[in-house]
Every structure is written in structure tokens, then in C-alpha cells.
Amino acid sequence: MLVVALLLTVSPGVGLAESPTVLEYKVKGAFLLNFAKFTKWPADEFAATNTPVTVGIVGEDPFGSTLDQLVAGETIGTRPVVVKRLAASGDLSQCQILFIPKSADAANVLKHVVSPGVLTVGESDNFLDTGGVIRLLIEDKKVRFEVNMDAAQRAHLTISSQLLKLAKTIKPLKP
């Protein structure tokens, strides 16, 4: 129900006849954007005030064109949003948000994130344990998320308490 409502508000052009998977990724795409809004990057992350926020998708892209449609014209503060499809190789830390789909090997991908400042979002069950910041999951047909505070701190990211309030579970900082 939430999903339907969300879709209606976020993408009013999308028909109801779409498959559950497409709907799921539309919601997840919107979540990606919203995470950006409640996350504070380190001060040196951006060169200028209008430097775009880059959303990187590693490996196989489950969003299709949905994410492109979502970010079109969308801004985070003063910054536009761009989507980049990346391979799980080289330095992936030039992205601000890195989405690692189920199909990718999360542990491997995270090794390529060499510098802080990247909000890593994954779907695999042990994503937080492998060092990811936010894990998306489906619960009661709703998209929920979990946050790894330790990983966020390591990535020099400040996540809004409001966002944390919405999280299903929060993996706390190591003492």
C-alpha cells in the first residue's frame, strides 16, 4: 500500500500494470535520492557548490531507465544528480552514492571503494557486515532499510537522525 502510494506521488506517469520488480526498484530509486537528502558528505567531497551528486550503479543495472527518469531535474540542495553505470573494477570512490545490486559481489565491490565520502547502498543480506552503509530490504511488502553507523563513520558521512529514526535496525558504532 505504501508502495502504491509512493509510486503515485513520485512517478505519477507509471502505470499500475507494471511488474512488482519494476515497482520495487522505482521505490528503491526514490530511496536512493532521499538518502542523499539526509546525508551530509565531508566538506572536501565537492569541488564547487554546483558539482553534481553522482549515483553509481555497479554491475547489472536493476533500475533500467527508472532511475534516470527519477533524477532528471532533481537536485540535492543546489546540486544536480547524475547516474553512472560502473563495472566492479578500479576506484569506485568518485561516486557519492554507490548502489550495489544483489547480483554483484558486494565484498568485492566494496574493496574498490578506496577513499571515504561514498554512501554505499546494497541489497545482499550480509551487506552491512561486509562494510556497507545502508542495506535495503523488503518487509511486509514495504521497502525498509538498515544502517551501519560504523561504516558511515568510516566513510566520513553524517546521517540525519531523522533518517536513522526511520531505519529498521541500526548497527551501532563499535566501542
Partner: protein, 682 residues
């Protein structure tokens, strides 16, 4: 309440006034203060609510972004700690309700979303306020809050009220203490004044008040002292006056009695006077009325004139006592109105009037109307005399007059005849002298001498030649005849001369007779004649007498007009005037008797013939009656000449006038006649 307050002693009154005044002032300021505080409180509440709304909105951004309704509702539930908040509602960007919170479980309705976040409305103790939910400066929804301020306000008011009560009580107490201290400044002097006044009223007029201050009480005390002083003085006066009053009353009573007696006398005098006037009024020989348009009052005679009672007259119009028309044909009503109006206009009227008695008989009256003022009102005093009798007498007089006129005309004729005879007689005297002369001359003629010569010559018929040459007598005969012829020629001349004179005299007689005949014939006929000729005729008729009395006649013919005249009448007047002038000259006794006859025009269409003498003159008192019938100054005069002359002049449409500067100053009689014949009245 009001009455009760009025009856309070001034001390209490003062205190009450002070207390009430301070209470009202305090109450008003408290109300103002509380009101201000209340407004402040509400403003404050609004601010608080807005701040709270902002916090909730800020905490709802993530829930709204992620569409986490339960999280949003949990945030809203945090408002439970605020008992004022009745409802809270979070609206999504599209206006749909996203999350709600209500204190009352039974009421799940949402407070309205006020457009334009940040505004607040306040009604029925409910404050509704909306705040925008902003994320990244973008509006992602609206938060609406509704708070119930009533308990807060009530609590505040209760608190304020109790404080107010306390403050009031404290202030009143303070005011009571202060006023108790201050009121004696007013009540003490007042009480002193009251006590003094009571003492004064009690009869002690020497009481005085000590003035302790210079304020109104001081003035009052001063005024009181003055009043008491004047009262004391007045009291003394009254006592004094009382003593003299009795005597004055007595005096005044006497005066009044005297006055009353005088007034009674005056009234009696007035009554007597009125009675006298009434008698005078009622017994006046004339009818007397007071009237305006109608009769106001009248006397007995007036009633008798109309043959009715006083009641029939008063209030009625004079027109009711008049026939419809007057003898001269005028409408009675109109004539009466005109007369009355003229009289009221200040022109006294005297006229003949025919009145109608109640029984319808007519009565002739002479009426005079005069405007008089009675009691400020203009009324007419009308006086009427019954002249029926007088008119009868007048008619008889007129008859007599006509007879006299006839007689005098005859007398005049006789006089003219005497004149004519006199003139003729004068001329006849000359004729007589002439004839005596002629017969004397003829008787004494030498015609017989001629006969003697003829006889002598006849005797010597045979030797006539010898006789004429040889006889001495014959020689002288020629000379004798020559002388005789001369003498006879002279005689003839003388006789012829005398005969011429005789002829002239006879012509004169003829002329006189012809003139007399012409006047006798012309009587009553009007003809246009040169006026100068008339004057000449008048002089000629009197020429004998004028010459006999050595009167110098001066002719001043300034104008020589012709006018239509009755020659006989005009001449009769002029002859009479010339004769009168002659008498006047005789009487005057002057040596230079002069009679001037002047003919002139007066520029007003009349010709004037003046006969002016320098004789005895006329005293002024006679000037007015000189034309009256029977007036004469001559022993054998009949006093008719000038009278008939004036009448005749009038008949011709002219006039006869006289002027004299007095006795010895001569006189001038002027006959004025119209130059043009007027339309003759029938």
C-alpha cells in the same frame, strides 16, 4: 442610593469620593493591564505554537520523504506532552492527509490546513496554525496544529483576578488611611462654619468665624463674617424701622384717605363733565354722529333726523339712510364712500346730502365730516343740519332775487335811457345856441339897406347916369354897395359856420339814438366784437358826465382782441363801471381826476377790461362784500349795479374782480371775459 449618599455627612462623603475615585482609577488601569497581558499571552502562545510546529515539521521531513506514516505519527504523538494541543495533522505536498494526532480519541477530524504556512487563526479559544514542512528549502508538506487556549486563559484570568483583588484591597486601605488624614482639611473648617451658622441662626448675630486659610473656606469665612455683619446691621435697622413704621402707617392711611376723597371728587367731576358733554351732545341743534364705515354713536337730534331710535342707527351704514341716488344723480353709496375716505384722509368735508328717513321720506341736510381721534382711533365726526326749511327759504329768496333782477334791469334800462336823454339834451343845448345865433344874425342882417339902395335907384330911374355921376349921394352909392356886399359875405360865412355846427350836433344826436337802438336790439345775442370798441362805447355813453366832471380819460389798449360777447350785457357792465369810477373820483376830491381804461389779455384765454380810477378807494373790509346784493356806499345807490354786473360776467363765462390798496388809493375793477366761446351750459 443617590439619596443615601446625599444625606451622608460631608466627612463621609469626602472619604467615599476619594475611595471611589481611587478604586475606579485602579480598576481601569488593572483592566487595561490585564487586557494587555492577555493579548501578550495570546501572542506568546502563538509564538510558542509556531516554534513547536516548526520543531515537529523539521522532525517530520524524513518521515514525509520516505512516506513513513507510522514514524510521522509517532513524531506527532510527541505532542501529548503539550496539553494545549488538541489536534495535529501532517499533510503531504499534494494536500492529502499523511498523519494525524488528536488528544480526544473520539474526534479524529483534522484541523484545517491553512494555505501559506506560518499563518495562524484564532477563534473560540482555538488557535489554528500551519507550518510548512521544508526539505532542502523545498516544500514537501504542511503541518497543521490546533491548540485550546481556554484553560490557560482562564487560569491566567483567575490569577490576575486574585492579584487585582488583593491590590484593590490594599489600595483602598491606603486610600482610606490617606483620606482619613486629609479630609479634616475640608470637613473641619466646614464644621466650624456650620456651627457658626447655627449659632447665627440661633440669634447670636455677633458670632464670627476665624479664617485660618486663604482658600475658598477662607473666602467663605470672610463672606460669612460680612454676611453676619450686614445681618447685624440690618437687624438694627429693622428694629429702628419697626419703631417708625406705626407712625408711617398712620400717616400713609391719612394720605390714602385724602387721596381716595380726591379721587372720588375727580370721578364726580368727570361724571359731571361727561353728563354735561352728553347733554351738549344730545341737545345739539344738529345731528351729531361718530362713525367709521358705520355709525358708532349719535345724539338725539341725529335720531330725529332719521326718525328712528338710537339702536336703529348704531352699527348701521349711512348708506342705509340714503336714497339710491342723490338729487344731482350721483350714486349715494359711492358718493358716501368717497366723502368718508376723504374725511379720514384729513380733508374735512362740507356738502349737501339728501337722507332717507326710516319711514322713507327724504330730508335735505347739510353734512360736515371731520376726522377726529378718539382713544387713538381715527373716526369721523359727522354733523348734520336739516336744511329742508332753509332750502325752501332759499328757493323763495331766489324767486325774490329774480324779481329784483327784473326790476333792476328795468332800472338799468331807465338809467341808460336817462343817459341817452342827458347826452341828447347836452347836444340839443348846443343846437339851441346855434339856432339862436343864426336867427339873431339873420334878424340883424343888412338886407334892408340893400332895399333902400334899390328904392333910391328906382326914384332916379330916368336920370340914373346923372345921379350916379352928379348927385353926391349917387357918387357914394358904389362905395356903399361895396361895403354892403362885404358885410353880407361875412355874415353868410358866420351863418354857414353855425349851421355846420348845428348839423354836426344833430348828427351826434342821431348817433346816440342809433347806438341806443343797436344795444336795445342786441340784448341776449352773442357776437364777436373788438373789445376796444366796447370800451369806447362805454366811454362815449358816459362822455358827457366825464367831461362835465373834468375827468381825464387815459386809454391803455395793450391788446386789441375780438371776443364773443353779449354786447348788451358787457356794455351794461362797463358803463356801470365807468360811472362808478366817476362817482369814486368825485368822492375822492382830487383835482387830477384820472380814469384809465385798459384792455389786455391774460395769456390764459381771457381778455381783461380794467376800469381804474384814482378816486376814493375801497376799505379792505368792503372788498369782500362789494359784489354782494344790496351793498352800496352811495346815498341813492340801490346796491345792485356791481352785483348784477358780477352775475352777468359769470353768465358770460367770465368774472368781475376788484382791487384797491385802501381808502384814498383808488380802485381797479376788472372784467374778464373768455376769448373763445365755451360750450354754453343749458
Amino acid at each position: 442610593m443617590n439619596q443615601a449618599f446625599q444625606n451622608l455627612p460631608i466627612k463621609r462623603k469626602l472619604m467615599t469620593v476619594m475611595m471611589l475615585t481611587s478604586s475606579v482609577a485602579l480598576l481601569l488601569s488593572c483592566v487595561g493591564f490585564v487586557g494587555y497581558q492577555l493579548l501578550n499571552f495570546i501572542q506568546n502562545e502563538k509564538q510558542n505554537l509556531a516554534t513547536m510546529g516548526d520543531v515537529i515539521a523539521a522532525n517530520s521531513t524524513a518521515a514525509l520523504s520516505f512516506r513513513d506514516q507510522s514514524s510521522a505519527e509517532e513524531t506527532l504523538r510527541g505532542l501529548k506532552a503539550e496539553p494545549r494541543i488538541l489536534k495535529a495533522c501532517l499533510y503531504a505536498k499534494d494536500g492529502t492527509v499523511f498523519a494525524t494526532y488528536t488528544r480526544d480519541k473520539n474526534d479524529q477530524s483534522c484541523p484545517p490546513s491553512v494555505p501559506r504556512g506560518g499563518s495562524a487563526t484564532f477563534d473560540y479559544n482555538h488557535l489554528t496554525l500551519s507550518r510548512s514542512v521544508l526539505l532542502d528549502g523545498r516544500n514537501i508538506g504542511t503541518l497543521s496544529l490546533q491548540a485550546d487556549l481556554a484553560p490557560e486563559v482562564l487560569a491566567y484570568l483567575r490569577r490576575a483576578g486574585s492579584i487585582l483583588l488583593f491590590v484593590m484591597a490594599a489600595s483602598l486601605l491606603a486610600a482610606l488611611l490617606v483620606s482619613r488624614r486629609l479630609q479634616h482639611f475640608i470637613s473641619d473648617p466646614l464644621r466650624g462654619l456650620v456651627a457658626s451658622t447655627q449659632e447665627l441662626a440661633g440669634g447670636n448675630l455677633s458670632v464670627r468665624v476665624a479664617a485660618a486659610s486663604t482658600d475658598e473656606f477662607g473666602e467663605l469665612a470672610h463672606a460669612f463674617n460680612e454676611m453676619a455683619g450686614s445681618l447685624q446691621y440690618s437687624h438694627a435697622e429693622i428694629l429702628n424701622y419697626q419703631q417708625t413704621l406705626e407712625q408711617r402707617v398712620k400717616d400713609r392711611t391719612l394720605e390714602l384717605e385724602k387721596e381716595i376723597a380726591e379721587r372720588k371728587q375727580a370721578e364726580r367731576a368727570l361724571r359731571d363733565s361727561e353728563a354735561r358733554y352728553r347733554v351738549l351732545f344730545d341737545n345739539a341743534a344738529e345731528g351729531v354722529w361718530l362713525m367709521t364705515d358705520t355709525f358708532l354713536d349719535c345724539n338725539k337730534n341725529a335720531c330725529e333726523l332719521f326718525a328712528c331710535n338710537r339702536e336703529d342707527v348704531i352699527g348701521h351704514s349711512p348708506i342705509e339712510f340714503s336714497p339710491l341716488t342723490q338729487p344731482d344723480g350721483k350714486d349715494s353709496a359711492q358718493a358716501a364712500r368717497e366723502r368718508i375716505a376723504s374725511a379720514l384722509g384729513g380733508h374735512p368735508q362740507l356738502f349737501y346730502w339728501q337722507s332717507k328717513r326710516k319711514d322713507g321720506t327724504l330730508v335735505d341736510a347739510e353734512i360736515s365730516l371731520a376726522d377726529v381721534t378718539i382713544g387713538g382711533q381715527h373716526v369721523i365726526l359727522a354733523i348734520s343740519r336739516d336744511i329742508t326749511e332753509r332750502r325752501r327759504t332759499e328757493a323763495q329768496m331766489e324767486d325774490l332775487h329774480r324779481q329784483l333782477l327784473e326790476i333792476s334791469r328795468e332800472a338799468g334800462m331807465a338809467e341808460v335811457a336817462t343817459n341817452v336823454l342827458h347826452n341828447v339834451g347836452n347836444v340839443l343845448n348846443s343846437v339851441n345856441v346855434s339856432t339862436a345865433l343864426v336867427s339873431e344874425k339873420i334878424r340883424e342882417s343888412r338886407v334892408s339897406s340893400l332895399a333902400k339902395v334899390v328904392a333910391l335907384m328906382r326914384a332916379r330911374q330916368n336920370d340914373l347916369a346923372a345921379f350916379l355921376t352928379e348927385d353926391p349921394k349917387g357918387v357914394q352909392l358904389c362905395d356903399y354897395l361895396d361895403n354892403l356886399a362885404q358885410y353880407l359875405g361875412k355874415e353868410q360865412t358866420e351863418i354857414l359856420k353855425e349851421l355846420e355846427s348845428l348839423n354836426a350836433n344833430i348828427g351826434h344826436i342821431k348817433e346816440i339814438v342809433t347806438m341806443q337802438q343797436s344795444y336795445a336790439r342786441a340784448a341776449g345775442i352773442v357776437e364777436t366784437l373788438p373789445i376796444v370798441d366796447l370800451a369806447e362805447d362805454a366811454l362815449r355813453i358816459n362822455s358827457g358826465a366825464l367831461a362835465r366832471h373834468e375827468v381825464q380819460v387815459v386809454r391803455e389798449y395793450i391788446a386789441t382782441p375780438s371776443a364773443p360777447v353779449d354786447k348788451h350785457k358787457a356794455l351794461q357792465i362797463l358803463v356801470n363801471l365807468v360811472r362808478n369810477a366817476k362817482y369814486a373820483l368825485d368822492e375822492g376830491g382830487r383835482k387830477d381826476k384820472r380814469l384809465t381804461i385798459r384792455v389786455a389779455t391774460d395769456g390764459e384765454g381771457s381778455v381783461t377790461i380794467s376800469v381804474i380810477d384814482n378816486g376814493v378807494g375801497i376799505p379792505p373790509e368792503n372788498l369782500t362784500r362789494i359784489f354782494s346784493y344790496g351793498f352800496t356806499t352811495r346815498k341813492n345807490g340801490h346796491g345792485f349795479g356791481l352785483h348784477s354786473g358780477a352775475l352777468a360776467a359769470k353768465e358770460m363765462g367770465g368774472s368781475l374782480s376788484v382791487h384797491s390798496d385802501g381808502p384814498g388809493q383808488g380802485a381797479a375793477f376788472t372784467l374778464s371775459l373768455p376769448l373763445h366761446q365755451e360750450h354754453k351750459k343749458v
